[in-house]
């Protein structure tokens, strides 16, 4: 059986070694991230059968918890690390040709470290270790947003950095308060001791932790950095930020709420906040002319929907939320990858400049259209079963508040359909009809897009392929006692 530590240790070692390899072999920096992420993908898939029976707990250093740091490779962790490895691998293949100017060697090192940090966040079982890997993720994303060194990139990176750093400090204060009260940093140990503490003394650490992690998870009042950062970064980085970084932030928020605090009283407030996030995101996206800014606001809207589904709190709801997370990651990465080359061809990020690209770049536009329809939730793409599951979960609780909120979410979906259809219309039905001059994106860029379209269509037709894993993951989130028993014995 493979040790889950390899999922973090091997990419980390390879990232440190890239400058050494670059001494002998000039292009080493481009090819090492795909190799490391391919290794991660293989290890994650090998781990799947084992963890579906019982989570694998790894003790770092050989000590017993709570005196050591432990990794918890359960269904949630390995599901997330598979998604991270797959998407990271595809975007790194795309970046073989897309990243040509600027400090390319440093781009690849930072890219690999960002994904290693994300894998560390989802696998760890210790709250200070979560903070450290969360910082690895955040700081590499600050540096990558500024990669092109142009006016917009540096300005967005500065604003992102300041907001992210304040969030991290609040997170650290929350961790300090938890340590002072309970004397341990292990998540399972804190979860065990929380049952004997008064709710008032838990309220402040919980709020601080959710606020600190919520800056990266882009929950409503804390997401002012997102439209600027995701639209000024190079397209491969926008894809990773929208597809992985904010999802991992959301994972951390949910892990804190469900597993550590077991707080079901705050879920209603979170559901309200989530629908607010969704409506603000979709309405702002509707009024955009810049395509990457539109996609960034759409990410905010989708995060609102995922958080709403997770905040429903039942097994159906959490399964629906994780399914929507998977479908959003696949679709949004596809959209950003396609938009990258379309913008490169059209020369500007305005939607009006993209008119007629449907004839000039047929495969890329087709990929964009598939991603757009999947995100809106049309069958036969993956967005349809995931949204359907969320609506069914909300209706099954029979609480009027949730039913009203899901109605508002469907209004948001209609707005989403409107602005995406406007873009698809510009791609295919406008622009000059004579002599298009086909010049498609290079094959290294088309290959990842094609590989992303496959699961969007296949899982859309047979959702049963993934619902088994998603159900086990939902059970792990909701079943605190099982988690504590697995770690502490």
């Amino acid at each position: 059986m493979v040790d889950p530590v390899l999922l973090i240790a091997v990419p980390l070692g390879l990232a440190f070694a890239i400058p050494l390899f670059a001494l002998f072999w000039k292009d080493a920096a481009k090819y090492i991230p795909p190799a490391a992420l391919g290794f991660n993908l293989v290890v994650s898939l090998l781990l799947f059968p084992k963890i579906l029976e019982k989570p694998v707990i790894v003790f770092i250093g050989g000590w017993q918890p709570p005196f050591c740091i432990n990794l918890v490779a359960g269904p949630v962790g390995v599901l997330f690390s598979t998604i991270i490895a797959l998407v990271g691998l595809l975007v790194s293949i795309y970046a073989l040709d897309y990243i040509k100017e600027g400090a390319t060697e440093r781009y690849h090192i930072l890219y690999l470290l960002l994904l290693t940090g994300a894998t560390g966040v989802v696998l760890t079982g210790d709250i200070f270790n979560l903070f450290v890997f969360f910082e690895v993720l955040c700081i590499s994303s600050y540096a990558l947003v500024a990669h092109l060194r142009d006016k917009a990139g540096i300005e967005s990176a500065v604003k992102y950095l300041i907001q992210g750093a304040v969030g991290s400090s609040l997170l650290l204060i929350g961790i300090g308060l938890l340590y002072g009260q309970f004397g341990t940093l292990n998540m399972a140990d804190i979860a065990e001791k929380i049952t004997s503490a008064s709710p008032i003394s838990l309220f402040v650490p919980m709020v601080l932790l959710i606020t600190g992690l919520g800056v990266e998870a882009a929950i409503f009042p804390l997401n002012a950095w997102l439209p600027d950062a995701h639209s000024s970064a190079p397209s491969s980085i926008s894809a990773i930020l929208s597809g992985i970084a904010i999802e991992v932030g959301l994972y951390a928020v949910v892990r804190v709420i469900f597993t550590i605090f077991g707080a079901s009283s705050i879920l209603l407030f979170l559901a309200l906040l989530a629908i607010l996030t969704l409506l603000v995101g979709e309405m702002c996206a509707f009024s955009q002319n810049n395509i990457k800014r539109m996609l960034a606001y759409s990410s905010i809207g989708q995060i609102g929907l995922i958080l709403f589904a997770l905040a429903i709190g039942t097994s159906y709801g959490v399964t629906g939320g994780l399914f929507q997370l998977l479908s959003h990651t696949l679709a949004k990465v596809l959209l950003f990858l396609a938009a990258g080359y379309m913008i490169h061809r059209a020369g500007s990020m305005d939607i009006s400049a993209l008119e007629g690209i449907g004839a000039k770049m047929p495969f890329t536009s087709l990929a964009f259209a598939v991603g757009a329809f999947s995100l809106v939730g049309l069958p036969p793409f993956i967005g349809f079963p995931s949204k359907f599951l969320i609506v069914r979960a909300a209706l099954a609780t029979k609480e009027t508040v949730l039913i009203v909120l899901i109605g508002l979410a469907l209004v948001g979906t209609v707005i989403e359909g409107a602005y995406f259809f406007r873009v698809v219309q510009a791609l295919y039905f406008k622009g000059e009809k004579q002599n298009p001059g086909r010049k498609e994106a290079p094959i290294v860029a088309l290959l990842p897009m094609f590989i992303l379209v496959l699961p969007i269509v296949v899982v859309g037709i047979y959702p049963k392929l993934v619902t088994g894993v998603l159900n086990s993951a939902a059970t792990e989130f909701l079943n605190r006692l099982e988690y504590i028993r697995n770690v502490l014995g």
Partner: protein, 120 residues
């Protein structure tokens, strides 16, 4: 009242620094002042973390002589946490300053009110 102050002086100091740091970040519009505020916020948080581990009449947790008294040694875990937190704080500050240098080269000013090219 005075004994309360004397007992909790470290907490009050740490939170004073945190609140001052947050005020600077929220209100000032020169980027360098905001970065200094970030540094003050980091210092306050680290001071708070260290003071959580103190024990009255405590000594350092180092067994320098074989028969040393280990009854009053303070908790070593917050010190390890602060070690990591200080290094992470330095890394963020260094990155922020390098971005400020580039921002000044592009815009010619460090006033955050004037650096607002990205709007709705």
């Amino acid at each position: 009242m005075m004994s309360f102050l004397a007992d909790y002086i470290y907490y009050i100091g740490a939170f004073g620094l945190i609140l001052i740091g947050l005020y600077i970040i929220l209100v000032k519009h020169n980027l360098i002042k905001v970065i200094v505020g970030l540094g003050i916020l980091d210092t306050g948080v680290n001071l708070f973390l260290i003071s959580v581990g103190y024990i009255t009449k405590g000594t350092a947790p180092i067994f320098s002589k074989p028969g040393i008294d280990s009854e009053h040694m303070i908790d070593p875990v917050p010190q390890a946490l602060v070690l990591t937190a200080i290094v992470i704080g330095v890394a963020v500050l260094a990155l922020a300053l390098s971005l400020a240098i580039r921002l000044y080269q592009h815009y010619g000013t460090l006033n955050l009110r004037k650096i607002r090219e990205q709007r709705w």
